[in-house]
Homo-oligomer: 336 residues x 2
């Protein structure tokens, strides 16, 4: 063990300022009025001693950790960085620390509880990073919980997500109405992934509203992964499947699609239109520049923290927050 110089305690501050520790605590937390003159002396002592209250002592005495927990299935993808940025900034602004944990295999360690009531005041749960049983247990004991990109099912846990269906519908409408596409492939995301399910629904609605048949042959695996998407489209081409557009579950899949189309000498967008979802930073730099749907990921993070903090404060939270998506027209659809 390294010998950390014992840092000063509230008692040291109290002594130096000539007050009780209760008074020091009060000026730090602003819980009770304190004479201006006393407060000043205490502040001076705090600065002189470089005093910072120990989180553990505070937490034990106050029953609050002042910490938010973030549970993720994995740390990767274009999604991840902006979402965490939003969460971190919002947590910081609200005065909370942020503990983060990736659950590599949700169902493998049912007994490990890295984040919970023992070390946080509330949890942000992204997609299916937590097994149902633990989610229910936490909800039952009353730990504030917010779900991101995953609906609360029967449990009434506030959920934040984006307008997947509407975004998908708009971009497919565009492919049909502006570019006259009729045989549009949809590349699904990971199985049961809610974002993908809603995007698929928007895709179907768009087709139906234009009197086009939803053809089961036009659905393929994309799994939000460029390699999978690439293979899928290559297979489609080899099998001679006819299609004049591909709506990808996300931008990553779109990258794979662009790759396999180029390999097969199918000109994008002349012969095939391609559209993505998310609008990740590099989407404008693909060739052709990717037409996609912008999802306000960072905003999802901020909103999730906002709702969680409300819950922690005992206030009412919104059951469902649906953030608007935006159609981003570039060149891969056929526009100039």
């Amino acid at each position: 063990m390294p010998k950390i110089t014992p840092s000063s305690t509230i008692a040291d501050v109290a002594e130096k300022a000539g007050v009780s520790i209760a008074t020091v605590s009060r000026v730090i937390n602003g819980t009770t009025p304190v004479t201006a003159e006393t407060a000043e002396r205490v502040q001076a002592a705090i600065e002189e001693l470089a005093f910072v209250p120990r989180a553990a002592a505070r937490g034990l005495a106050s029953h609050r950790t002042n910490t938010l927990g973030l549970l993720l299935p994995e740390i990767s993808g274009a999604f991840f960085s902006p979402m965490l940025r939003g969460i971190e900034a919002a947590a910081r602004e609200a005065g909370f620390d942020l503990l983060i944990h990736a659950m590599e295999e949700p169902h493998r360690h049912p007994h490990r509880r890295p984040l919970g009531e023992h070390n946080t005041d509330g949890l942000l749960v992204f997609t299916d990073s937590l097994e149902d049983a633990e989610l229910i247990r936490l909800h039952k004991i009353g730990l504030p919980l917010v779900l991101m990109h995953q609906s609360g099912e029967s449990l009434d846990i506030p959920t934040i997500t984006v307008e997947n269906k509407m975004g998908a519908r708009r971009i497919v409408d565009h492919l049909i109405e502006v570019h006259g596409r009729r045989r549009i492939v949809y590349l699904r995301g990971p199985e049961r992934h809610e974002d993908s399910v809603w995007r698929e629904r928007g895709y179907c609605e768009s087709l139906e509203s234009h009197g086009l048949r939803v053809d089961p042959a036009l659905f393929g695996e994309g799994r939000f992964n460029h390699e999978i998407a690439e293979v899928t489209i290559r297979d489609f081409i080899e099998r001679g499947l006819e299609f004049d557009a591909v709506f990808c579950g996300d931008d990553d899949a779109a990258i794979g699609v662009l790759t396999s189309l180029r390999a097969a000498n199918r000109i994008v967008p002349d012969e095939v239109s391609v559209a993505g979802f998310d609008d990740q930073p590099l989407a404008p730099y693909l060739s052709p520049a990717l037409t996609t749907v912008r999802a306000p990921i960072e905003q999802v993070g901020r909103e999730a923290v906002k709702q969680l903090v409300r819950l922690i404060r005992g206030e009412q939270a919104d059951p469902l927050t649906l953030l608007p998506t935006e159609l981003i027209i570039r060149n891969s659809c056929g526009c100039k």
Copy 2:
């Protein structure tokens, strides 16, 4: 405040198992031998009550938080995600929680100490996310510290970074030797950024070892940002500066370079070779596919945690860890 169902304490477990709380503590921590039979009874009670020790109580009693802190200048860039993945995984494997904090403006809040000896057992400090004074203070009081992509200067703080100079040298060698380039632009990163400084040094060494003059006119601003890089190259072209290759401080800058070169109808790689640094996930999908240097970012994260944990355990840590970079040849240099 929400009424969280009071979770069970060590006393509840002790009572149910018919032992003292000291014994429960021992079986949880494995600090002292306990009869197998007793241990079993305690384990059963723990599971029955879904007992998880409160981090605050533990921390207060043991003087250890079991938490690592990660300080970043900002949450963004292709860099960020893999680095955090490595850090999180390694921290988890070592049994530590991970607190993360972005210092938006390092010099604006000299008195805020979001992460420090009051809530962590040690800190990972990325690039210049912390002002010197605070770094020195933390080092002085003995808080375990590890620097990432930033050297410890005179302080003896372990540092983890990658072989920037060697990587840069190899890729510039390649441009000169294989593709016969002689007027190679270097696009610098943010001012005083150590990664960029080392890459620049490698660039200079390569030129010199080939008997080429280092021409000050060939240096431009890239700032690890595609927009800045785009503007810089556009200016170079408008001013009629002659160059036959661009070595970019990082892949982001390379994206901007590709964009401005295309806009000016300069064919890459026929007329101009382009090379990047980092090998971010989308580098293979740019057109042409980007020749670059792969930096093992995730490994940097893992290694940083490893060294920090050593320090926390009172063991010796390596003063400097230099992770090897790898030349990734694709098409933007002129190779097939």
